[in-house]
């Protein structure tokens, strides 16, 4: 097993072979379930108002990975999504652009053509999304195709079956190879926390993904319930924070699925600030995988600025 970057000796030991990897992952401290849920709920009650809220809304908009991952996606839908990414609220040019548009590999070219020169990234899911049930060759081909088409970010899924049956080495290899196939593109590793069952597993999977070289760890595909939750995101934020203390590197977190309201988004931002730290309050290190969230952010933004409640008639239809 090859470590993708130069790691401090403790971590380099962990990736020497499969048994040392297992020893390392099972040696991670267990997550206090009651504690993390209580802390997440506690931070969720924090009240963010007025100027701070407006700032949080704009920050959240700039962190959105505007996503469409439906069987019914058409080039037209992807183009309109790209237009929305560039100008989320056409009547208000001061609204920031979103961070990226996230589509299936065959739609990457359409999105990339639309977004050329805007600074908005094109993210593509790959590796037999969302189940991850295919052969290694197909997963790698899927990844290469996405990158060739112009994706600058790749969202891969891990093989949860392998992870849950304890074949950590296999999962590690897969991430390393996909990372190679990505080339310059950023790699986000989807853990699909809804299928990992326990917080301990989430912590292990997070570390596994970080060790293998994932630039981001992402909660979910959005196709499995429960998707992103606050406590799960807490555990993942702790992992990237600890990664930074041990290696000095900054890695990102992306909750995805089920975040629909501005209130939820702000709760996540509070968690980022308190658990990871203020430097993670940046689109390069924290993203929201969402589609309906953007409209709610825009409506809330209008409410803040206009002094009365807005409605869905005043924002674009997805």
């Amino acid at each position: 097993m090859a470590a993708p970057t130069t790691l401090p000796s403790a971590l380099a030991d962990a990736v020497r072979d499969e048994s040392s990897l297992r020893r390392f992952l099972h040696g991670l401290p267990g997550v206090d379930q009651v504690g993390v849920e209580q802390r997440a709920a506690g931070l969720g009650t924090r009240s963010i108002k007025k100027a701070a809220k407006l700032h949080a809304i704009d920050l959240a908009i700039s962190m959105v990975d505007l996503t469409t991952l439906e069987g019914a996606d058409t080039p037209g839908k992807v183009r309109s999504l790209a237009a929305k990414a560039k100008r989320p609220d056409p009547e208000r040019p001061d609204v920031p652009q979103v961070a990226a548009v996230c589509v299936y590999p065959d739609m990457v070219k359409t999105a990339a053509d639309e977004l050329k020169g805007t600074g908005i990234n094109v993210a593509s899911v790959a590796t037999a999304f969302p189940s991850g049930r295919s052969t290694m060759d197909i997963k790698l081909a899927d990844t290469r195709f996405a990158v060739e088409q112009g994706a600058s970010e790749v969202d891969m899924v891990i093989d949860r079956g392998a992870f849950l049956s304890g074949r950590y080495g296999q999962v590690f290899e897969e991430i390393v190879k996909v990372k190679e196939a990505c080339g310059d593109a950023h790699l986000k590793v989807i853990l699909e926390t809804g299928e990992l069952v326990t917080y301990d597993n989430v912590r292990r999977a997070s570390w596994l993904a970080l060790l293998a070289g994932g630039d981001f760890i992402k909660t979910s595909t959005g196709k499995v319930q429960p998707a992103a939750t606050l406590p799960v995101t807490h555990v993942m934020l702790q992992a990237v924070r600890d990664w930074k203390t041990q290696t000095g590197e900054l890695r990102g977190v992306k909750p995805a699925g089920g975040i629909r309201s501005t209130k939820d988004a702000i709760k996540y931002l509070v968690a980022v600030h308190e658990v990871a730290g203020p430097e993670w309050l940046d689109p390069h290190l924290f993203r929201f995988g969402a589609s309906t969230l953007l409209n709610d952010l825009l409506m809330q933004r209008r409410t803040q600025l206009d002094g009365h409640y807005s409605g869905p008639d005043y924002v674009t239809v997805d």
């Binding site: 009365h308 409640y309 807005s310 409605g311 869905p312 008639d313």
Partner: protein
């Protein structure tokens, strides 16, 4: 034997089919006509109104998409349950409005009859207010009435049940959903009505009832971008012009009936008609 301590009811809001307390945590004492304490009612805030509008918007596709016949059956069912609670309503109306039991009885009976009257209209609206239009061309042109959307209703301040029923029933009969701000001083029959709605077949969110200060909440509903129409029946005189002005900001339909409307008189279709849009279709013929 010790005297039994009776269980007092907590009067809460009715939003999206549930009975939450006010988000603000506030409540206010409700008194009878002579100033005696009756109960504490929840004092709704602008955020309760906002939640109620979201609930009403969510319920709109289902309720407006239901067949008129189905809506009629649901409203008849409400009348049946109202009838079963007749005694409770008589007591509450008598206490709230300070009228003798006999008078309260007739008010409650009229309220139930009013509900049935509007229930009967559900599947007749299209026939009476719609039309096929004679046009000079090879087209079959027809117009059908469709519900406006989410209606904010400021319920009458005096008539606590008959007036309330007379403003809610015409809104929902045609498929609109509504957010109702009850009479400020006499909100108790409205909360009991919401218990009736919750236990008949009305889907949650079709009617949302908020108790509290009309003057505090009404401006937020009048300016709300997701409210399509506003009924000013129970609006304070001093606020009417302002409410109309801010309603114009988002192009709402506004029903501006004078205060002091006599609800004991059998109504006409004007309240139903006020919350309808007309859709006209031109269909090519003879090709």
């Amino acid at each position: 034997m010790s005297d039994r301590v009776s269980v007092a009811k907590t009067y809460k809001l009715y939003i999206g089919g549930a009975f939450p307390r006010s988000e603000s945590g506030r409540s206010y004492p409700v008194t009878d006509s002579k100033g005696g304490f009756l109960a504490n009612a929840a004092q709704g805030s602008r955020k309760d109104a906002r939640d109620a509008v979201s609930a009403a918007r969510k319920a709109f596709p289902g309720w407006s998409g239901a067949t008129a016949y189905n809506r009629g059956q649901v409203l008849y069912r409400v009348a049946e349950v109202l009838e079963g609670r007749r005694e409770q309503f008589i007591t509450e109306v008598a206490a709230s409005e300070g009228v003798p039991l006999k008078k309260a009885q007739s008010l409650v009976d009229s309220a139930i009859d009013r509900w049935v009257w509007y229930a009967g209209w559900t599947d007749k609206i299209a026939a009476v207010l719609g039309s096929s239009n004679p046009v000079a061309g090879p087209y079959f042109s027809f117009s059908t009435p469709e519900p406006t959307g989410v209606v904010a209703v400021l319920a009458p301040q005096q008539s606590s049940l008959l007036g309330l029923v007379s403003v809610i029933a015409p809104v929902i009969a045609s498929g609109n959903t509504c957010v109702v701000i009850t009479s400020q001083e006499r909100p108790l029959p409205a909360i009991t009505l919401s218990e009736v709605l919750a236990t008949s077949d009305v889907p949650g969110g079709v009617v949302n009832i908020i108790t509290g200060r009309t003057a505090e909440i009404a401006p937020w509903l009048a300016s709300h971008g997701d409210v399509n129409a506003l009924d000013l029946t129970g609006a304070p005189e001093s606020l009417r012009a302002d409410l109309e002005r801010s309603a114009a900001g988002t192009v709402k339909r506004v029903l501006r009936n004078k205060t002091g409307e006599d609800f004991t008189v059998t109504p006409d279709l004007s309240r139903i008609r006020a919350y309808l849009e007309t859709k006209t279709v031109w269909h090519p013929m003879g090709v």
